[in-house]
């Protein structure tokens, strides 16, 4: 089976063609760099995304946050729910850990803004 993907690792957005057999990646073409191949393999076996969103702050505002590594794609909305239940105390600095190891993904949710 041939699967067509767009590499999202960098803004170049290479069009990838992945040859698959029984969930196994046989070959990847169209990638302008090795990261594209890795992306294609991950995307076909266990797709992941970095989640960027905001969390409430104690003063009723919001602070921008992200997962410090990519999390399984299917957990995005569960992670959103957990982040939206969190209230961040102020002040907060870029890189401060807001939630550790969110949903056991190994990713920490960290602040991306100083407030």
């Amino acid at each position: 089976m041939i699967k067509e993907l767009t590499c999202i690792v960098c803004p170049k957005g290479c069009a990838l063609r992945v040859e698959l057999e029984n969930q196994q990646v046989l070959s990847v073409t169209g990638n302008a760099c090795p990261r594209g191949k890795q992306y294609a393999i991950d995307e076909c076996t266990h797709p992941t995304r970095t989640l960027t969103t905001t969390a409430r702050t104690a003063d009723g505002g919001v602070v921008s946050v992200k997962t410090d590594r990519a999390i399984p794609k299917e957990l995005m909305f569960d992670c959103m729910a957990q982040i939206n239940r969190t209230v961040v105390s102020l002040p907060v600095r870029v890189g401060d850990v807001i939630l550790e190891n969110i949903l056991g993904t190994g990713a920490n949710v960290i602040a991306t803004m100083n407030l």
Binding site: L5, T6, C7, I8, V9, C10, P11, G13, A15, R49, T50, L51, T52, T53, T54, R56, G60, G61, V62, S64, K66, K73, M76, F77, M80, V94, T112, M113, N114
Partner: protein, 413 residues
């Protein structure tokens, strides 16, 4: 009147990086004037990642990218005035500004760097028939509400325009629990990056309706729905394809315009295509000592390129202040229409020059050619070029030779 060697108008990515570059080139008498309460400009609300791969080799969010530069500004103790609005700039470089503590005041500068950025086109809404209810926002305004204020502008959303901000907001609204029914794009292709179509639309099964536009707005107080329709080759809506979508929110992502009101007061010559100043390779405008960089000059796809351009402006503003004598030449860069514009538009010095350009349409199997009359200065084949992707070519002094004018052309098979 207060005198300052270098005044930078705007404390976004362009202003900060120009200031740092000028400082590193020996200018310590400088000032950044910023209209907002903090530095960072539009990056503050661009909380998604994808910034900085070129510059820093890592993927950063907008606020993190801004912070990298703000840290440098703070470390070098480069002065900046927040909450201050520049009202006027004269050709002899007098800056009039105002804020709540100092009132209206003037500064005489030796050089000025324009870094005011761009604003969103709102025209997309003006030519749509129907009522004028609440619930219609530019994508950037919605982005500010959601990401900086923590308010959701609505729950059932249609987006007009598939520029990157529109795509990013489709994902953002979806993550926060809204339903994005469609992203309509007038053109047969999206103006956004392929990766954003993938990770913002496909990931969430949001339909991208190419060659579609919003033809009617419904609702009295609040938006209740929009009618969309397919457009023909001439971008005219086809009546039989009209389709009603109930929604409470319409976001417009229909383009960005460089914000050049101040450049006009300074009598800076503007380029009709870019909407920004006409500049030379140093990013100096038609007014000596006034430089421009970032989105005020032309709309960039990547902030990394904004920083790069701002460094050029900062370094050369410093050289101008030091009064370095340079041998001048004059080469005008022209385009054939398929290539819409170049930045810079003129070359005034024979040195390595990187020229950025954008094309007018999606073309396949093309040859980019630079011609000095009959002489082919440069040519390169490309499998595909698109308006959404800025291209660049670096020319060296030898290639420039004795050219008076260079034509940037696209040969389409």
């Amino acid at each position: 009147m207060k005198e300052i060697e270098l005044v930078i108008v705007g404390g976004g990515p362009a202003g900060m990086s120009a200031a740092v570059a000028a400082y590193e080139s020996g200018i310590s008498d400088l000032l950044i004037i910023e209209r907002d309460a903090r530095l960072g400009g539009i990056l503050q609300q661009c909380i998604h990642n994808g910034f900085g791969l070129h510059r820093f080799g890592e993927e950063l969010t907008g606020p993190e990218y801004a912070w990298k530069y703000e840290k440098l500004v703070r470390e070098k103790q480069i002065p900046f005035l927040p909450n201050t609005m520049v009202l006027d700039i004269t050709p002899d470089k007098v800056v009039t500004a105002t804020n709540a503590t100092d009132g209206v005041f003037q500064i005489k500068a030796k050089a000025i760097i324009l870094a005011m950025g761009c604003r969103e086109r709102s025209r997309g809404a003006l030519n749509i028939a129907g009522t004028r209810p609440a619930g219609i926002y530019t994508a950037g305004t919605a982005q500010k509400y959601v990401n900086l204020k923590g308010y959701m502008p609505g729950k059932e959303v249609v987006i007009l325009g598939s520029g990157d901000i529109g795509l990013i907001m489709a994902r953002r609204m979806t993550l926060e629990g809204a339903k994005v029914h469609a992203v309509c794009e007038l053109m047969p292709y999206s103006g956004g990056l392929a990766r954003n179509i993938e990770q913002c639309l496909h990931d969430f099964d949001i339909p991208l309706r190419l060659s579609h536009t919003v033809v009617e707005i419904h609702g009295k107080e609040r938006l209740t729905g929009v009618t969309i329709a397919k457009v023909d080759k001439n971008r005219r809506p086809i009546p039989e394809t009209r389709e009603y979508i109930p929604c409470d929110t319409l976001l417009l992502s229909v383009g960005l315009i460089p914000e050049n009101e101040l450049s006009k007061t300074a009598s800076v010559t503007l380029d009709r295509v870019t909407g920004g100043a006409v500049v030379d390779q140093d990013r100096q405008t038609s007014v000596e000592g006034i430089f421009a960089c970032g989105n005020v000059l032309h709309v960039h796809d990547l902030v990394d390129y904004v920083s790069e351009e701002a460094e050029i402006a900062g370094k050369n503003a410093a050289a101008y202040i030091r009064g370095e004598a340079i041998e001048r030449t004059e080469i005008n860069l022209r385009t054939d229409g398929k290539i819409r514009y170049t930045v810079p538009q003129r070359i005034t010095q024979k040195k390595d020059v990187t020229v950025y350009f954008r094309v007018a349409d999606v073309y396949r199997n093309v040859t980019v050619k630079i011609l000095d009359g009959e002489r082919v200065v440069y040519q390169k084949k490309k499998p595909r070029v698109a308006p959404g992707e800025m291209e660049s070519i670096t020319l060296n002094a030898d290639q420039l030779a004795d050219a008076k004018e260079l034509l940037f052309a696209l040969e389409v098979k």
